[in-house]
Each structure stands twice: as C-alpha cells, then as structure tokens.
Symmetry: C2
Subunit: 157 residues, 2 copies
DNA sequence: TCATAGTGATTGGTAATGCAAACCAACCTG
DNA sequence: CAGGTTGGTTTGCATTACCAATCACTATGA
C-alpha cells in the first residue's frame, strides 16, 4: 500500500511528528504569553508579507470560511489586523496586517528563535543548513490546499 | 541576544515551523476523519505504549489537569480509553488505552505515513535516514516539561 | 494519633475555536 | 436581466482550554 514502507520512512515520520509537536508546543506557549492562539499567530505570520482575502486565508489555513470571520474580528478588535475591500470585487474582503500586528509577530519570531536556540544550537552550522535543505523538498508542494500565491512564499506559513 | 543569530538558524527555524504546520495539518485532517481532535490523537499516541496518570498526561501535553478530565471522559465514552485506579495511591487515576483505541491509533499512524509518503518519497532513503538523524538532537531533551518516563520513549509523542 | 497541610482529580464558569447551515450581497453567464 | 455561483457574515452547537473552588486521599509533625 504505502510506496515507501521501509524503516527510513518510519523513523523519518516519527521524527517529523515529534518535532512538529515540539515546535507547536513552543509556539503555543509563546503565543499564549501574548494572548495569541496558534491560529492567530499563524494568521499574523502569513500576513506578515502578504495580503489575502478571507477565503484565501481560510484555504491556506484549512479552515472554514465562517471560522475566519470571528478569528479576524477578534484580531481586528485588538488592532493587529484591518479589513479592507478588494478593489476588483466589492464582495471580497482583504485582510491586512497593521504596524502593531507586524511588530508583534516580528517579536514573536525573535522569541521563537531564542527559545529554539538551545535545540538548534545542538547542531553545527553546516548541519543546520543541511537540515533546512533536507526539509525543503518536503515543504515545496504543500500537502494541503494553498491559495494561488501572487508571489513566491517565504517566512512563517 | 540569540546565541546563534545567523542565517543557518533562520532558515532552519523557518523550515521547522513550516514543516510543523504541515504535519499538524495532516494530523488534524486525518484525526477529523475519525472524529479525533489533535489532542485526543496525541493522547492515544502517547498511551500507545505507556500508562500514565492524569497529571502526568497533563504535564506531558502541557495542559491543565482540569482539561484532561473532559478530554479523557469523552475518549472513555467512545471506548478508546479506560480509567483505572493506581495501586499505590487511591487518589490517582491511571489512563489506559483499550484495544479499540490501540487499533485506531495504529490505523491513523499507517494513514499518516501514507499521506506523508508523497512528501517523504521526494527524498532518497539515505536522505530520509540523514534527515531523521539530524532531527534527533533537536528532540532528545524536550523543550517542554515531560513527566518522569518509566522507560525510554519511542513513537508518536 | 490526629489535626493539618499538600497532592490528585473533578466540577463549574468563561472564552476561544471550529464546523455546518442559513443568509445577504455582489458577480457572472446565458 | 434571470438564475446560479461565489464571498462573507451570522447563528447555533460541540469541543477545547483555562482558572478557581472543591472533594478525596496522603503525608507530616506536634
């Protein structure tokens, strides 16, 4: 059934899942310290260098459109995001990050790096580079639906 | 401030965070198909080869003890877990996985491997092995609190 | 030994998250 | 321009998660 049902895949999946939970744990804790849920944190990360419409954002996050409304509303109420109307389509709502939101996510990113430093520091710089490169192929075509990005994507998804 | 404030760390953190979100997306979707939340899925994964008390489980997951009660109650209602009393301490409640729970998490693990196969398959077996090995140092001493494990931990955390 | 402090778990209250269904508004197609 | 589609919001519901308070049992010390 599985095309690569060997030990190397087992060990890899195991490591990926464990590292994912570890990273999520860090992000959850870090976000909580700033009253940000994981999803809100992610929204800010996505919008840091992009502007998306509600439905694109929903597709990106794998969430229902209706979920977005409340999510964006709360973030907007806190001044982290703003709603704007799309010039081309009067129905569409584009979500923009505010300066305050940008500052917050930037700060969180720095904090995240610092928290992960004890872990990443266990690798030599060449190893870090190698690890990042090995992860790349796993990320390129996302397994989950992503909206048509206007430009190549970089940074926290 | 950060001890390794270089490009290799930036790229690595970026890759780790993105892969984490990707993995979580897969697990969330997979779990949802079986009416399992991410946390429930994780609980099953943890208890697959272990038996823990409520508070240990809470510490492991980084959640409040009170959160566990409802979580375990729902899983118990579905027949995936059972509560038992600790022999040594009559206050303590140990949580055990049932055969049904074990079968479910095993099935999910297989499905997870299958879903991730297109991604992991982009790497050659040696690369997979190498990636798993590079991840290992990041995982060994967890950044978040973990309960005193009675025996070395393996498998989905 | 027995009162008291501490630990393990549950309960009740509140907020956030997420889905589904119903809905309105704007677009698009014939 | 009528009918269908798409983009968002609203409402209702279950789950998740926290905190504070509570109950049950354990452990401690006078």
């Amino acid at each position: 059934m599985a095309p690569d049902d060997d030990d190397s895949t087992d060990a890899l999946v195991d490591g990926l899942v464990r590292s994912a939970f570890q990273v999520m744990g860090v992000l959850t804790r870090l976000g909580a310290e700033h009253d940000l849920s994981l999803t809100q944190l992610r929204v800010l990360g996505i919008l840091r260098d992009r502007t998306l419409r509600m439905s694109d954002l929903a597709a990106f996050l794998g969430l229902d459109k209706s979920t977005m409304s409340g999510l964006i509303a709360r973030a907007e109420r806190r001044g982290l995001l703003t709603r704007g109307t799309s010039p081309g389509d009067k129905r569409a709502v584009v979500v923009l990050i505010t300066d305050e939101g940008r500052a917050l996510i930037q700060r969180l990113y720095e904090e995240g790096k610092a928290v992960l430093a004890p872990a990443t520091g266990r690798l030599a710089p060449e190893q870090r580079e190698q690890l990042a490169q090995l992860l790349e192929p796993l990320l390129s075509p996302p397994l989950l639906a992503a909206p048509r990005p206007e430009r190549p994507v970089r940074g926290m998804p």
